[in-house]
């Protein structure tokens, strides 16, 4: 028997081992460069700060305690509100778009391509594009001034409006695609049945289409909420120094403030919110599946 045959036979007789052999390289990489760093970060969040960056050994709850300070409590609340607001606006804008695409006939593929396009383009470049439009001498202000609507340019950047618009602009495709996917699967026989039984269009929509698109709505909401919660670039580029979110707080602790333990704690506050959202999503999804949808 050649070495090759012996090698193959060895794994053929041990299917479990074969599976783990395939998993091992990727798994190792993920554990060493993803899980271990997260565990280290959790450890850092309970240690006292070292003024030169990094940590001193010891145990403290002070880093988490600081989140009860109104200043930081406000940042966490504001971030959550932004994420919720962004999700709500995306749902409001995204549902009609998904609905129109699902009924878009021969334009369907082209419209999907249009939704996918920003989904793939550099997030940084897209935030810059928003900034380019919104800054004091930007196109929006200039057009309004030329049209005589306003006398002088008004400040749009560094306002909650700019950040929220940026977030929606950034994450809208994440909402449209899952809703489209569930609308596309919708069984037309059900709508016809409703129609035959005398339901007017509005009633058909609210009693058939909307409930059946719920899995897409829930998935889309999660896909928007999570990155909005963790966003850093949007508020950094469009919010200036005024609109600080948890992401900016974390970045600040690891750069200029040099308070790694506090930055780690802030990251874990963010991770907790994300995990909360994922858990909620899984609950809702499992409940949906249990109902036999």
């Amino acid at each position: 028997m050649t070495a090759r045959q012996r090698f193959l036979r060895f794994f053929h007789e041990r299917p479990q081992l074969k599976a783990w052999a395939l998993l091992a390289p990727g798994l190792t990489w993920l554990v060493v460069f993803f899980i271990v760093p997260l565990v280290l970060m959790l450890g850092y969040s309970f240690m006292p700060r070292n003024v030169y960056g990094g940590v001193d050994f010891g145990f403290t709850l002070e880093n988490y305690g600081r989140f009860f300070d109104p200043l930081y409590l406000k940042i966490v609340l504001k971030t959550t509100l932004y994420a919720l607001g962004c999700t709500a606006v995306c749902l409001l804008l995204g549902f009609p778009v998904a609905y129109a695409i699902a009924r878009g006939g021969r334009f369907r593929n082209f419209l999907i391509f249009l939704v996918m396009l920003p989904f793939w383009t550099s997030f940084l470049v897209r935030m810059y594009a928003m900034m380019f439009l919104m800054r004091d001498s930007g196109l929006i202000n200039k057009t309004l001034m030329d049209a005589g609507v306003i006398e002088t340019g008004f400040e749009m950047l560094s306002t909650p409006f700019a950040v929220l618009t940026g977030l929606v602009f950034g994450f809208l495709p994440f909402m449209v695609l899952p809703i489209y996917a569930s609308l596309e699967k919708l069984d037309h026989a059900l709508l016809e049945a409703a129609s035959v039984l005398g339901a007017p269009p509005a009633k058909r929509f609210f009693r058939v289409t909307l409930p059946l698109s719920m899995p897409g709505v829930v998935a889309g909401s999660l896909l928007v909420f999570i990155p909005a919660l963790g966003s850093f670039l949007t508020s950094d580029v469009l919010g200036g120094a005024k609109e600080i979110l948890v992401g900016n707080l974390v970045q600040n602790q690891f750069t200029s403030a040099r308070d790694w333990p506090f930055g780690s704690a802030a990251s874990f506050v963010m991770m907790t919110l994300v995990l909360g959202a994922v858990t909620l999503y899984l609950r809702v999804r499992d409940a949906d599946e249990a109902m036999g949808k």
């Binding site: 998993l23 798994l27 993803f34 970060m41 996918m116 396009l117 940084l124």
Partner: protein
């Protein structure tokens, strides 16, 4: 219902949302050709901002770094991710659910958390920061995406060809390289393209693990955006935009290409 037209107000509303999604980038591209340094007024067509780009060493270096990191991390992430997908799609093993959950951790973790936690690891382990550490980080967040894409492809794949090859005398290794890989190729390719694009576009994670000497293209762009000095920012943004659009277009094509046996013959 298919034949009913959408109400006009809905069509109009949807058109406005599409405009919102695309107009900002179109304006950006348009003004990268504007012959004026400060004003938003159209002063004529020019390509001088693009010529300026080619003269800037930091941009050329950034582009070189981004391509190097992108290629290296894509190759590693694609190989590791594909192997994981094969294990998940074709083998029953204990700890499988935990494994699937683990794969989703990088997908839901906010970028900034990935960036700082890796920075903590690298500093604690005295791992030198630079193109090497950036590559390691990019592989870490890309393995999952490749695995998920390839896994989806594997689930729709027909195993008959592989079995036929083995019956005809190929051993498992030959069957894998001569039958499975060619069949799976479109999935692997679209996973790889996705990985490359994410690596090429990433700013947040990269900025934390880059150290002081290395700068990828998005990092150079970020500095330019923050300083906001001249329309070169529009030009470099346009270049990045076009590069990623081409990549995605290619990836999309590759992903759609039908495998050798896309349609299963109905077996009775």
């Amino acid at each position: 219902m298919k034949n009913q037209r959408l109400p006009y107000w809905l069509t109009l509303g949807v058109a406005i949302v599409f405009l919102f999604m695309h107009a900002p980038l179109m304006v950006l591209v348009l003004f990268s050709f504007n012959d004026s340094k400060f004003s938003m007024e159209w002063k004529g067509f020019t390509t001088k901002w693009y010529e300026r780009l080619a003269e800037r060493q930091d941009i050329l270096d950034g582009l070189y770094s981004s391509l190097t990191v992108g290629l290296a991390s894509t190759v590693i992430a694609t190989v590791l991710g594909t192997l994981m997908a094969l294990a998940l799609a074709r083998h029953e093993f204990r700890g499988r659910r935990a494994m699937e959950a683990l794969l989703y951790v990088p997908i839901v973790t906010p970028e900034i958390v990935v960036g700082i936690s890796l920075l903590i690891l690298f500093m604690a382990a005295h791992f030198p920061l630079g193109l090497g550490s950036i590559t390691v980080a990019h592989v870490a967040f890309n393995i999952s995406f490749v695995a998920v894409v390839v896994h989806a492809r594997l689930q729709g794949m027909d195993r008959n060809l592989e079995e036929a090859a083995m019956i005809l005398g190929a051993d498992e290794i030959t069957a894998f390289f001569r039958v499975t890989v060619p069949q799976l190729w479109p999935g692997i390719l679209s996973g790889a393209m996705l990985a490359f694009t994410m690596s090429f576009d990433d700013y947040v994670i990269t900025s934390f693990v880059a150290g002081t000497d290395a700068a990828t293209l998005p990092m150079v762009v970020y500095t330019m955006v923050k300083k906001n000095i001249e329309p070169s920012v529009n030009a470099i943004s346009t270049v990045v935009l076009i590069a990623t659009t081409i990549l995605i277009f290619v990836a999309d094509r590759a992903g759609r290409e039908k495998p050798l046996t896309a349609e299963k013959a109905p077996v009775e």
